[in-house]
Amino acid sequence: MLSILNNLANRALAKTGEREAEAMKFGIKAWRNGGRERVGSLDLVNNNAAIETPALVLTTRKGLPTYISPDLLPSVASPDSCLLQASPLHFLDSASPKTISNIGGLHQLVSLHGYSFTAAPRDSILCLPEYESTNKMGASFETTCGRRLIKPAEYMELVSALNPNLWATLADEVPAWVSEKRNKTSVDRTVRWLDECIALDKVGSRNVLGAIVGGSSIEQRVRCAEEVTRRNVSGYWLGGFGLGETMEERPALLCAVTDILPTERPRQISGLDLPEEVLQGVASGIDLFDSTYIYHLTLGGYALTFPLNRNERRISDEGNDIKINLKATIYRKDTSPIIDDCRCYTCQNHTRAYINHLINVHEMLAQILLEIHNTHHYLGFFRAIREAIKEGEFDLFHENFVEIRHDHMTAVAANS
């Protein structure tokens, strides 16, 4: 059953300031009565195309993809590939906030004006929350510059200089196994830092995502969500996931939060990487996914191959694989592309044999080609999710995918 809700604008009065303040608009385009999944349209009002959600947020290092150079980025399934993650903590070493401001902010720094950035402190690759060293002054992270304690003031200095389209407030993320007391403290701190960050925000919290934590405690999750919804934020960032909670306990935690949040504001999450985890997130009403899946696949020499057409079940074993490992010697002489009808640069130009060779001789081009294909493919997965929601068939899509995965794992186990 489909019902379309009207767009609800989320404007604040424009303030005069040195840089043009950008309001964000988010509207629900499709949803199902009785379901939490929804298709939304995120308009970041920066003259770029609106982004349809659920959407993948691409991982970056200092604003650019890890391997895909900026001139190759447009060919990776535009306009879908327009939303990029950026962790302000990437810039702890350089460039300085002052220099970034002088240059004109993140978009100018990396020369990606046609793209939108969403910033959160946590980056599951380089900036890992280090909960034991976090204290009331700030959140501790393991970064490329060593362990650093990030206070709201320092965080906001970077956020202001970068001026991303969306940004999440500083959070105290804890893994699932901490004590109740520690978990409770993390909620208190996160809410307090939210207020501090908003107070320090020069452009007036038009594009702020309030951070919600609470570990594996439904009670704390609810408490945090209720606190955050009382603040004037444009959307929500769910933190503390992908830090030890099981697949089984996660849906309940997610839904406990999303059921409290206003429908018409976007929800972003970090830490749900795998396709099945993304599907869990979609099922509970999450809109934006900051996933490092592509990064890890690429480094491992893997290429995604699972079928995107949800009605298609390929006959061959390989057609039902989630991914292939191009390091394997069986690909030495394989002159086919990763996927026959894939339209990405890698599949249109190169063979499995060539990528196998590049991986074996440790050439960077291997990672470039794999990141291109994997990004293209995963963006296709998100597109398929949106189609399924629009047609009211997301549950079926979800089930189907899990089944393929299960069959594949069973087959692998049987063969080994």
Binding site: L64, A95, T144, Y354
Partner: protein
Amino acid sequence: MALRFEVLGRFNRARAAQLTLPHFVCQTPLFMPVGTQGTIKGLTTNQLEEIGCQIILGNTYHLELRPGSDLIDELGGLHKFMNWPRALLTDSGGFQMVSLLHLADITEKGVTFQSPVDGKPMLLTPEQSIEIQNRIGADIIMALDDVVKTTITGPRIEEAMYRTLRWIDRCIAAHKRPNEQNLFGIVQGGLDPVLRDICVRGLVDRNLPGYAIGGLAGGEDKDSFWRVVAQCTAALPEDKPRYVMGVGYPLDIVVCSALGADMYDCVYPTRTARFGTALVPEGILKLKQNAMANDVRPIDPTCMCMVCKNYSRAYIHSLVTKDAMGSQLLSYHNLFYMMKLSRDLHASIVEGRFPEFVREFLQNMFPKGNVPEWVCNAMEVAGIDIAACCSPFPAPKIGLEALVSPMVQQRFSQMNNHSLLSSINQKLK
């Protein structure tokens, strides 16, 4: 013969030409990036085409090791394997063996070495080198030569030169695809003009499609370097391409082009990029320096590449040596620079403004006029007047030195008397 070489313009010894190869029509002078293992580090073939790359070099030694020339052949040749539609050149594999491998030994049969895979003794003969290159399928293949370091002296150099000549015949005999692949001979002979001369004559007698000047770019002093190049380019046939192997620095390329060379290769632009160094008209720019951290200018304000049009030194500084993207962007810029240099050399010769180009190049690189002496000497022989680029003449000195100040040296340029110049230079040292 599978190439055509047509000179389109000249200035004294320098020439601009069209080199038609089986896979691509090239404009010379040109620089060939080195794609050691079937890829230029960090760049796609698409990007290489965009920046104007015409020929890429592949290393036979590395490619034979992995993935193997048999596999490459089975999959249709290296062009198809890499999906590179333009031209390819492979070297013989000899140089890598001598420089990379422990206990490589050269005998009349070939190069014996320890296999890096299992330590067993292996032998690369001229026949095998050509067979491997036949399978890889490049447009230009190189003869296996007996390479010695230019810093070595003594009878070894003469032995190597004569052996190179004997091996060229074996290479020619082993070459199965002369209508699709061009076998270039390599002139050896160290720094000895007599040996070089013998080698040149010997190779020219074999009537090969093209010739390389080898055994340089290995640590010899610049003064010796240019003289060998000058001697060889003077003696090699006019109507065939001349390839100076292992060169290199933009300055060296400009000088060698002035002296009549056409093709160059070197790992320098891409390797130096990975260490954070950019090529600019002034020379080099080290992006790792702290001064770059807040410099909001592009690497080179005059450069039209994607990197210079979009990124600041500050941003590149934050990436270099830490993130793969830093290497990629700098490699892109550096190769763009080299391709532009190639285009500028060709165009300026064709359009009759080569001396102006050389002067501008030197003025950018040596704004204080301190053009190195070897460059001045080489340009004299090339017949290019660079007086305007050189610093004002020093105050007159007493004694012999007064007779041989730079001004006087240039006044003697008509003499073209190399030995006089070198004996004068010797005395000045």
